[in-house]
């Protein structure tokens, strides 16, 4: 087995900009046939290498082919398009805007690097007291409580079930466990509903199963205040330390 490393593109626009740079193409006059071929070749390469192709690439391929077809249609008066009826215009605008964003994010990255050695105060008194207060007044919960809370949340929030478009990336329970554990490494605790906010139905279920797994294997602990308030998820490390 060997690995092939393809340049990491942030989507089809990023790939198109790569072609434009590489062939030093004038962005205002893109040779659409050539670019479409390059683009399709890249997709074929991905297929051969068995790399999952996200729907955006397929969509872009069809957009390119559509533009190509429009360009081939004989124009009534002139062979050249006026600027605002050029079928490439929308794509060109997008490419320019995206390039501007890329440049801006490079500029911001410089700020980021310059500031990498700046550390702010990590912990405040109010957080300390809040934390110790919580651990005193909050009571530990079991799996049944989790199931109840989950059910309540499910009824309350009615997560959207987007039937039509199914995102290509699939989320495994293990990935979700990793995600939760990563948050717990940084944040000491998570408010339970926050884990699930703005997610689709099947994600909610995966989150629930992941949480079940973590609680069962004692990698996370659940606490709740005496009141009918939110459940908090703590990492086992944190509980051990306190």
């Amino acid at each position: 087995m060997y690995k092939i490393i393809l340049p990491n593109f942030e989507g089809p626009l990023d790939l198109l900009i790569y072609f434009i740079k590489r062939y030093e193409i004038n962005i205002y006059d893109i040779p659409i046939a050539k670019i479409t071929n390059e683009f399709l070749n890249y997709i074929r390469l991905m297929q051969i290498l068995d790399i999952e192709i996200s729907s955006e690439f397929i969509l872009m391929a069809s957009t390119l082919m559509e533009i190509k077809a429009k360009m081939l249609l004989p124009n009534k008066n002139e062979q050249n398009f006026k600027e605002d009826e050029d079928p490439r215009k929308e794509l060109v605008d997008k490419l320019i805007e995206y390039q501007v964003i890329k440049e801006l994010s490079n500029e911001l990255k410089l700020n980021f690097i310059k500031n990498q050695n700046l550390f702010f105060r990590g912990l405040f008194e109010s957080e300390i007291t809040e934390l110790s207060k919580q651990l005193k007044t909050f009571k530990p919960l079991g799996l049944v409580d989790l199931a109840n809370a989950f059910y309540a949340l499910f009824v309350q929030h009615k997560p959207e079930d987007k039937g039509q478009i199914i995102p290509k990336e699939t989320l495994s329970i293990q990935e979700e466990i990793n995600r939760i554990q990563n948050i717990l490494k940084r944040k000491k605790y998570i408010v339970f509903p926050k884990l699930i906010q703005s997610k689709e139905k099947r994600y909610v279920i995966i989150t629930f199963l992941a949480l079940l797994e973590l609680v069962k294997s004692k990698k996370a602990y659940l606490y709740q205040c005496d009141f009918d308030t939110e459940i908090l998820v703590f990492s086992s490390d944190f509980i051990a330390k306190n």
């Binding site: 989507g11 004038n26 501007v100 911001l108 990498q116 550390f119 995102p167």
Partner: protein, 224 residues
């Protein structure tokens, strides 16, 4: 007894402790508001000789507090503290000095704390310049699915939901947070690199590439 009648040394300590204890950068306006409110500092058992001081309405608060904070910083430098008061995200807050920040960033448990992927930077940029903005709008600019990236930015508290857009589906509207400004060392959003300047630059460059292309064509002509 008013704040401004306290010993200057005690005034410095109070401001220093205020900035130290505040979780968010504290602005001059905020400082002024807090310290000119009717509190009787003489009841606080401070070791301070109260001094004659100009009445508040004659004080230029901004100048006064800036000087005071600069004086605190000088003390911190003289006494070799590894942190300083800096201005960021619209206010004053404590942060490590460059020298010791560098050391900390090399220590294993701090090294990976500050990492942003290219995708995260891109989405942050889009939100910073177009806020408030919805996920579909972000994805339209990037040309790619950004749900995961947005989630991790929310988790890192670099962006927040500020409402919903009144269009079908009522999508969330996202905006950047103070933590974003802190991470990039910006006093306010106005300190972001200028959009129009960069846009002109990109457009100019694209035109330049056109010229190069022509030259290339010519060369090909010559060669063939």
């Amino acid at each position: 007894m008013m704040f401004f009648y306290l010993d200057y040394e005690v005034q410095k300590r109070i401001v220093e402790s205020l900035i130290f204890a505040s979780e968010e950068p504290i602005s001059i306006v905020n400082l002024t508001e807090i310290l000119t409110s009717k509190i009787d500092f003489s009841s606080m058992n401070l070791q301070s000789n109260f001094q004659q001081s100009p009445p508040t309405n004659e004080i230029d608060f901004e100048k006064y507090f800036k000087k005071l904070i600069e004086d605190i910083n000088q003390e911190l430098r003289y006494t070799l503290r590894p942190y300083q008061i800096i201005f960021v995200a619209g206010g004053y807050t404590f942060a490590t000095t460059e020298e010791y920040g560098k050391i900390i960033s090399l220590l294993p448990s701090f090294r990976y704390k500050k990492r942003l992927s290219r995708a995260m930077l891109e989405v942050l940029t889009i939100i910073a310049y177009n806020q408030p903005i919805t996920r579909p709008e972000i994805e339209n600019i990037r040309g790619t699915n950004s749900a995961e990236v947005i989630n991790s930015l929310l988790e890192k508290n670099l962006i927040k939901v500020v409402g919903r857009k009144n269009v079908p589906g009522k999508p969330h509207l996202f905006a950047t947070t103070n933590d974003f400004l802190k991470l990039f060392g910006l006093g306010s959003l106005e300190e972001l690199p200028k959009y129009n300047e960069i846009r002109t630059l990109v457009e100019e460059r694209d035109k330049q590439e056109k010229i190069e292309l022509k030259i290339d064509f010519n060369r090909e002509d010559l060669e063939s």
